[in-house]
Amino acid sequence: MSVRVIALGSAMSRDDGAALAAARALEGEPGATIVLAGRPGPGLLDLLAPGAPVVLLDAVRGGAAPGEIVELSLDALARAAVANDAVSSHGLGVASALRLGIALGRALPPGRFVGIGGARFEPGEALSPEVAAALPRMIEAARAAVAALREAAQANRGLGPERA
């Protein structure tokens, strides 16, 4: 059972690239399939499959201090009020995309959201110091989420833990 790790953001908008950087660090991780999705908007729904566990990684601009790690269930994320929820479908955010899926009758897959508060989002490649310092914690949180989802999937199938 592989967990799909979907990283959102743009590497050319400074801290918006944090999730992509975290996902790259997880490449080769046993049981994880990495998808660098960029800003898929509603296309995020095409990356989700019913019953297929997923970890969503993204940068958070508001509601989290720079470098703060935010962990939520997908259900909680979909129910979270998002300040600019209806601002754009071009950039339909992760919460809005999940809500769109629910409205279309699609069940959310089992999954976790791991976000990191960003400080700077202007064009540029360098992460801000707070975000760069916190990146290892985001990677660990994502790694733990992958492990937990694999364990849950195995338990649901009545299997014991897989051997490494």
Partner: protein, 437 residues
């Protein structure tokens, strides 16, 4: 609404426009029936990129400009590629040129489908967002998403991925597909074409406010073809055409106090329109026969001058893009080489393409090593911004008989008709966790 003595001033204002790309606001002030202010305030990202591009190599530039917009990266990549190709004297082989057009068709499809169904349709059907609309119109939204997925599939096959494609480069592509690799696209595009034809019929049935304007229509000329990825001449309705190099000589970009974006006008101060309605005006006779037939059935004339009907024009262009893409796949021959080799040198060149929302013009200068010393990009939304403000002024008399909320919505709907791509900043997630029971 304010009343001051014997005068009466009404302000229509939205501080944060929804369902546009980026953060913007508008204010329309009407005093005693006269417009005293119309302002579309926007934040424009590409300006930051121009400085960011200095010192970069051409292919690096092509990669970077893809990040200007998450929804139309190909427009920026092709515009930049064409500018360098024109500067360095590179001519694409016919198969490479066909592949570039096919890639661009994918972008038109996904962008137009997104705008028609996710951005503009809620205005016509009375919803605040596509998410709300989806609950009541599931089949409709699924059709839009299906079409968008077909466009994305083209981008993924040819560009390496749908968001910020990595395959395009100056002179062609880093890699090109074998003929059989395109076969899976055909079925999806054929289904998409049927969806697109249905979309024209559906959009034509929507009630559009009775509102027309006189426009100067501006778009590329690509000879016998409907302009998408190429064209070395810019057409102006009622005025002389100019070369790409001369384009900056006939327009003026200027800063307005209420907006971060530069506004473009013709040198005599006239605002102009770029995008689907402009393309239709100049090139309706070059539409694919299926799109031309759909246009006739929809009752569209070639000079559509009601911006609220742009949703129908966009749908017609989507039919054209699907049909064109299918024809390109059927006629595809794998190029002998994925790109035309070239040597960097000191040069200057202009390039442009028709982004889904209008003309996107580029100019680059390079040094002897081929590194960018100067970059200039004129994106479509900054060109349409002054035209949008004039439309708002023209709309004012129609608003006076309406209640304030309805009048304000009519203004928003008008702005959204332009599919403005204000910035790509709105991806960012502003979380406010409010647990509901």
């Amino acid at each position: 609404m304010t009343t001051d003595g014997e005068t009466k001033e009404t302000t229509y204002k939205v501080d944060l426009l929804t369902r546009v790309e980026g953060e913007g606001s508008f204010t329309l002030r009407v005093k005693d029936g006269e417009v005293v202010g119309a302002a579309l305030s926007i934040f424009e990202a590409p300006r930051f990129f121009e400085a960011f591009l200095r010192g970069r190599a051409p292919d690096e530039t092509v990669d970077i400009v893809a990040r200007i917009c998450g929804i139309c990266p190909i427009a920026y990549q092709v515009g930049a590629s064409r500018a360098f190709e024109r500067a360095f004297g590179i001519a694409l082989s016919p198969p490479l040129a066909a592949l570039r057009r096919l890639l661009y068709c994918g972008e038109w499809i996904e962008s137009h489908a997104l705008h028609v169904y996710m951005l503009h349709a809620p205005d016509f059907l009375g919803y605040l967002s596509a998410v709300e609309m989806a609950a009541d119109h599931r089949a409709l939204v699924e059709r839009g998403l299906r079409m968008k997925r077909a466009g994305n599939a083209v981008l993924e096959h040819l560009g390496g991925r749908a968001t910020h494609p990595v395959s395009p480069r100056v002179g062609g592509f880093h890699a090109v597909p074998r003929r059989q690799a395109l076969a899976p696209l055909r079925e999806e595009l054929a289904r998409g074409l049927e969806d697109a034809l249905e979309t024209v019929r559906w959009t034509a049935s929507l009630d559009a406010p009775d509102f027309t304007q006189d426009y100067v229509y501006v778009c590329l000329d690509d000879g016998e073809r409907y302009p998408i990825e190429a064209g070395d001449t810019v057409l102006f309705s009622g005025r002389d055409a100019v070369s790409l190099d001369a384009f900056p000589d006939v327009i003026v970009e200027h800063h307005v106090e209420h907006s971060n974006a530069l506004q473009a006008r013709l040198t005599d101060g006239t605002p102009y329109l770029t995008g689907p309605m402009a393309r239709l005006h100049h090139h309706a006779d070059k539409l694919h026969p299926l799109a031309a037939e759909a246009m006739r059935e929809a009752g569209l004339g070639r000079s559509e001058n009601n911006p609220y009907r742009s949703i129908v024009v966009r749908a017609v262009e989507t039919v054209h893009a699907f049909a064109d893409a299918l024809a390109l796949i059927d006629g595809y021959e794998m190029p002998d080489a994925p790109y035309v080799p070239w040597t960097p040198k000191a040069a200057a060149g202009t390039g442009a393409s028709e982004a889904p929302r209008g003309l996107c013009w580029h100019r680059y200068e390079t040094d002897e090593a081929g590194l960018v010393t100067d970059a200039r990009i004129i994106p479509p939304t900054s060109q349409n911004q002054a035209r949008i403000e004039d439309d708002l002024r023209g709309l004012a008399p129609h608003l006076l008989a309406l209640d304030h909320a309805r009048a304000t919505h009519l203004c928003e709907k008008l702005i959204r008709a332009y599919d403005p791509c204000i910035s790509c900043a709105t991806h960012f997630l502003d979380l406010r966790i409010e647990e509901t029971p």
